[in-house]
Symmetry: C2
Subunit: 339 residues, 2 copies
């Protein structure tokens, strides 16, 4: 890969020469802090005009190298394949720009090694701050950042080294489970436990959601068997396989389900279609996470929509304020019925 035209780019020295002044003056004018320097308005205008004519663009590598802070903010994110992370990334970018920060984002595909590599790369690019979203090992990332004197914040999954902003997974799961239980009872006239599918048993969010799931059952006096909690991973295939395995073992599956993420739901729906298991009557579904098409999939699908704007507000508040106490901020998600 080579530059097509090896153009020598215009620098502040070129501009200084053209304007008959110094590079310092040009820098001051173009960076906007020239009032302090009492540069004449006409010189300022001349420089601005020349910069435009010459197509001058600040070399950020040089600028950042010289400055105290880079004003670059990094984020790592697991995937771009669902609405939740998509909106996190999109809103993060917008909020960063609003604050005059340059966002750089890397998708790490839930791969621990890639996460570390990406974090190191961002530190090499001198990020002022790094947001670890849904990281498999947030504390490792926090340590790496800390060694470089860079602030870090966890998003979506909490860590123990730096502040975290996450959804209130317990409350969301509790309400979601209540609703699905109620929907089932209304339709089938009996209280029966739901199936929990998807996520990693070891991650904090899944653990909290399972806790909410169990609490809702306990409230209504329904026992939850161990075998009803399939924390098989997020990937569609994993959810699909877990359903198949369970059906083979148990025979009949519950008439209501808590699916832990739209990603897993993809596999669940595929299995339902292919197996024909629910051919007579579709199960009542609750899904942690939101997707507009999932909302159209059935008549009584309940979904938990995580409150991304509030979560990012909290993240930037931590960043802006410089707070670094080890708090975990839990943002209530929104549970909505659709259909």
């Amino acid at each position: 890969m080579k530059r097509s035209i090896p153009t020598k780019r215009t620098t502040i020295y070129d501009l200084a020469e053209l304007a008959g002044t110094s590079a310092s003056a040009v820098s001051a004018v173009l960076s906007g802090n020239w009032k302090k320097r009492r540069i004449s308005v006409q010189l300022a205008e001349k420089i601005t005009r020349l910069a435009e004519e010459q197509g001058y663009a600040l070399n950020m590598q040089a600028s950042v190298l010289r400055r105290e802070r880079s004003k670059i903010i990094g984020m790592i994110v697991p995937k771009y394949d669902n609405r939740y992370f998509g909106s996190i990334v999109e809103q993060f970018e917008a909020m960063a720009r609003e604050r005059g920060l340059f966002p750089i984002i890397t998708c790490t595909r839930r791969d621990p090694a890639l996460e570390i590599e990406a974090a190191r790369a961002m530190l090499s690019y001198q990020v002022d701050c790094l947001i670890a979203t849904g990281a498999t090992d947030p504390d490792r990332i926090a340590d790496i950042c800390s060694a470089a004197g860079v602030r870090a914040v966890n998003l979506d999954l909490p860590g123990s080294r730096v502040p975290s902003v996450i959804s209130d997974n317990f409350a969301g799961a509790l309400e979601l489970t209540r609703r699905v239980l109620a929907n089932c009872e209304r339709e089938f006239g009996e209280k029966a436990p739901l199936l929990f599918v998807g996520g990693r048993g070891t991650d904090h969010n899944t653990a909290e959601r399972v806790r909410g799931f169990r609490a809702a059952h306990a409230e209504t006096g329904v026992a939850v068997d161990e075998t009803l909690v399939l924390t098989c991973g997020y990937a569609p295939e994993k959810a699909e396989n877990a359903m198949r395995a369970m059906a083979e073992k148990v025979g009949t599956l519950p008439r209501g389900m808590f699916v832990n993420s739209t990603i897993s739901l993809e596999g669940v729906m595929r299995w339902i279609r292919r197996s024909g298991h629910y051919a007579d009557r579709m199960p009542h579904l609750g899904c942690f996470d939101w997707d507009p098409f999932v909302a159209m999939l059935g008549d009584h699908i309940e979904m938990v929509r995580q409150d991304v704007p509030k979560m990012l507000d909290a993240v930037f508040e931590i960043i802006d304020s410089g707070a670094s106490d080890l708090k975990v901020i839990q943002i209530p998600p929104i549970v909505e019925q659709t259909g």
Copy 2:
């Protein structure tokens, strides 16, 4: 926002001092090209070990500033809210990393002003190359890049200044329309024109898809009225409004539809539910773009899945080869039936 610990980061000079050698030697060892310098293996190992111990990280801002090429590659993308752009971004990142390039991505929300601003920002960060994905004004971006001597490639939407990689929209739309027409004829026993909803009449892809839509109708001898082509924009609300307006004006809508993107489909499905217009029988749907949940929405939804891996292969081939002839490479999409 401030760094929590104003740590002075380790530089090659620190390492040189610790190792009792020069910064040049450290640089040569750490950048991997030290065989040419005949540095002793043991010195190399010592330096490597020290770097590790000290948590040394290369300052890319300094490195890039000094080097000929930055090895940074930029991409602008309209949105992160659908599978198509999501997979483009995810695969682009992976392919860039494979080639030792550092990807930076900005989402411009189909906003022409933001696109230009983002392109300029990327040039300031010294990208070697910029990929304009689905840009509203690709030629403007190409001009800005060209002025800075930076290569550009268009993706998804073509431009006239630099090479473009796009889907074969005509062929995809032709096949999609044929299938939906056939599905309708099979179920309703009569040939009738479909409705086209979504996209911008002015953009190349939509124009090509409309052309394919018309061609498929022409093949089978069905006339397409002007009023049946609603290129109302991509946003769900726009599609929803266009449907409502048409229903109010015409009364009865066609029993088959070509929906131009999953984004627009969201609005179409919403209108269908709310209006109850198709309460007796769902229309046959074809959707340009693919989404796993859309596939589950009905029994005969046809979808066009754009071939992202092939498209990105073509993009990187252009970049790697340094080709800059103004070709437009059209990648055949995959039309798949689901349900």
